[in-house]
């Protein structure tokens, strides 16, 4: 069961990598990377389950967090061209 699950996740990850490399727009890549990130979270939980270690799940949580932050960062970069920009309803410079 677990083996099938692992295989499925890995296949999904490979497909995501293919899409990330093919593009063609930058948004496709971001989407693929996001998908890859969530699949990585699952892979880590699976490894934790295989090892029977609950504390490995912290790492999965970190992955989920980093995935989200990376997403925001890329979007921010893409929309505003700078990471420190406040946007129009924040404190304006």
């Amino acid at each position: 069961m677990i083996a099938a699950a692992a295989l499925a996740i890995l296949v999904a990850m490979s497909l995501a990598i293919v899409r990330a490399l093919l593009g063609p727009t930058i948004y496709d890549r971001i989407l693929a990377i996001n998908l890859f990130g969530t699949k990585t979270v699952m892979l880590i939980t699976l490894i934790a389950a295989m090892a029977g270690r609950a504390d490995y799940l912290d790492i999965a949580l970190v992955y989920a967090m980093i995935n989200f932050i990376g997403m925001i960062a890329v979007l921010k970069f893409f929309e505003y061209g700078s990471l420190g920009h406040a946007g129009s309803d924040g404190q304006e410079d």
Partner: protein, 116 residues
């Protein structure tokens, strides 16, 4: 093979099936928005089912609580980022694909055409 095992296996497999389907959609669909549809929609449910399946295997321990936390986190962040991404793409001028053939790529140019 207890009933819990079967339940957990079913959930796992269902989750994984969703994941693979989403990934295939990511490859096969013609443009960004449809791909996003495939990936974004399946993603959260896939994670939910998968983590649920694992939680059953772990039983009522701290691990399950952590899995729940991970699930909650993903429940918030995955749709949010999908939404933000779709909005950004729309905002950036990427036109949805139509069967007529005026696909988004032309409006967008090739990747990298728009640089700020």
């Amino acid at each position: 093979m207890t009933i819990l095992d079967i339940l957990s296996g079913t959930l796992l497999l269902a989750g994984c099936a969703l994941g693979v389907i989403g990934a295939i959609g990511l490859i096969r669909f013609p443009d960004f928005y449809t791909r996003m549809h495939a990936a974004g929609v399946t993603d959260t449910l896939c994670a939910g089912l998968f983590l649920g399946g694992l939680a059953i295997q772990f039983g009522m321990t701290l691990a399950s609580a952590k899995l729940l936390l991970i699930f909650l986190f993903m429940l918030f962040t995955c749709p949010t980022s999908s939404h933000a991404l779709a909005k950004a793409a729309r905002h950036g001028g990427l036109k949805p694909w139509t069967k007529a053939g005026s696909d988004g790529l032309d409006a967008m140019g090739h990747e990298g055409a728009k640089s700020r």
